[in-house]
Amino acid sequence: MEWLTLTIDGRTVSVPKGTTVLQACRMNNIPIPTLCHDPELTATGSCRLCIVDIEGMRNLPPSCVTQATQGMVVRTQTEKVRDARKTILELLVANHPLDCMTCQKMGSCDLAKYAYEYQVTGEAFAGGERRHLPIDDSNPFILRDPNKCILCGKCIRACEEVQGRGVLDFSHRGFNTQVGPAFDLPYAESECVFCGSCVSVCPVGALTEKQMAGQGRPWEVKKVQTTCPFCGTGCNFDLNVKDGKVIGVTSNPEAPVNGRALCVKGRFGMDMIHSPNRLTTPLIKKDGEFVEASWDEALSLVAEKLGEIKAQYGADSIAALSSARCTNEENYLMQKFMRAVIGSNNVDHCART
C-alpha cells in the first residue's frame, strides 16, 4: 500500500493513498465537525461543515470529499475556517426550531453539539423566513418533523443504498427543498416499510423513534448489544434500557451481519418485551381454570407427573418440544433433559417454520 505524508495543524501524519482529508484527520484524532458524512454511505459533500483550509486551494474545501495528497498542508482550526463553520451553523439554526428542551434528540443531536461548540446563539438572521411544514405523525414507529430537517440527505442515502428502497428523496429545490416520500405524503401513505434506517442516520431530531419519545435521555440509557429474536438473519442491535425497562432499540454500527440496518420488527417490535400479556407467574390448571401458583408448587407437580408417567408408561411416553426461539444453551439443556434425565430421544422442535 502506498502511503502519503501530509501536515495537519502542524502535525505530520501518514495515511494510505485514497484516504480523504476527513479520514486522515479522524485517524489521527483531529476533530472535524460533520453532518452529512457517514462512512457507510456515499459522500455528497453537501453540509459543508467539514471545510478546512488547504494550502494552494482557493476557497475552503470540504474534507470529506477531498483526497489527501502527498505533502498537503491542512489547517482545521484557523479563524477563517472556524468563522465559516460558525456561519454555516448559524444558517442552519436560523431555519431550525429551538425547542431543544423537549426534543427527543437532546443529548445526541449533532447540530446542537456543534452549535454549542461554536457558540451559535440562534440570534443571527433572526426574523427571517422559516419552514412551517406539517409534522408526520402518521404511523406508530417514526416521528418525522420536517422543520427540524437540515437536508443532509443521509436518510435518503440510507433508504436507497442500504435498504434498496428509495422511499425518500429530495423534492422541490433551493430554500424550499424538502426530504420525504413522494408527493410529500406522510410515511404511512408511502411505500415505507419502517425499517427505520432513516432514523438511525438522522443527525438531528427530524426523525425519531416514536416509542422512545419521553422515555429517556441518552445519558440515562444503558445500551446492551444483543441478537434479534425475530428471524434467522441474526441482526444485532442495542437494547436501550432505563430503570430496568427496555424503552427501545437503536442500531449498533458494530453489528457483524447487519451493521445499522434492521427491519420494522427488530427496531420497533421490542415493546413486546413489556407486553401486558406477558406471563409473570406459574399457573396450574385446576378444574379447567388456571390458578396462580408458586414455583415450588408448579415444579413439584411437573416433576411428580413426569416421574409417574415415566414409571408407568416408560420414558418414550414423554416427549418435549424444544424451541428455535430459545438460546443454544437452553436447547442443549432441553435435549439433555430428555435424553439424560427422562431417557428418551423424543425431542424435536419446529425446525421448519
Binding site: 428509495g166 422511499v167 428523496d169 429530495f170 416520500p181 413522494a182 408527493f183 411505500e191
Partner: protein
C-alpha cells in the same frame, strides 16, 4: 381484452404507455418521459408520476423529486393561456417588475398561479432571449415586446 374494457381506456393512457414502452430500458429516460407526459396531459398528475415510476423502474419519490426540481414541470393543471413574464436582466432594468405588478393586479394571481376562471396561468421566467425588445412577456407562443404597465390590460383582453 374485452370490448367493454376497450371503451374504458383513456387515449392519453395509451399514449403514455407507448411513450413508456419506447423508453423502456433506456438510460436517462426520466426527464424526456416527463416532458412527453406533460405534453399528453397538460400537466403531471400524481397517478401519471406513479405510472412513470413503475414503467421506468424508478422509485416514485425520485420521480417526484425530479418533477418538482425543474421549472418546466407542472403538478397542477394549467390555465387555458400561459402568460410568461420575462424578468431577465434587460427586462428588469427596463421596468419588467412594474409590468409584472400590473399583471398580478389585473389577474389577481402570483407567480405559478392560475386564475379562478382558468383563463391564465402566470409564470415568471428568467429570460426568453428577446432582450432587444425588453420588457417582454409571452402569452402561449406569442412574444410581446416593448411593454409598459398601461399596455397590459389591452393585451390580456385579447385572450379568451
Amino acid at each position: 381484452m374485452c370490448e367493454l374494457c376497450q371503451d374504458l381506456i383513456d387515449p392519453k393512457e395509451t399514449k403514455l404507455a407507448e411513450v413508456l414502452a419506447g423508453y423502456a430500458g433506456r438510460k436517462g429516460a426520466l426527464i424526456p418521459v416527463l416532458q412527453k407526459a406533460q405534453e399528453i396531459y397538460g400537466y403531471l398528475p400524481a397517478d401519471v408520476l406513479r405510472r412513470i415510476g413503475r414503467g421506468l423502474k424508478i422509485p416514485v419519490a425520485r420521480v417526484y423529486g425530479v418533477a418538482t426540481f425543474y421549472a418546466q414541470f407542472r403538478l397542477t393543471p394549467m390555465g387555458q393561456n400561459v402568460l410568461r413574464v420575462c424578468l431577465g436582466t434587460a427586462c428588469h432594468v427596463r421596468g419588467g417588475a412594474k409590468v409584472l405588478e400590473t399583471i398580478e393586479q389585473e389577474l389577481g394571481v402570483k407567480d405559478g398561479g392560475t386564475t379562478e376562471d382558468q383563463r391564465f396561468t402566470l409564470e415568471i421566467v428568467a429570460c426568453i432571449g428577446a432582450c432587444g425588445l425588453a420588457p417582454t412577456m409571452m402569452i402561449n407562443d406569442q412574444v410581446y415586446g416593448r411593454l409598459a404597465p398601461d399596455k397590459v390590460a389591452g393585451i390580456l383582453a385579447q385572450y379568451e
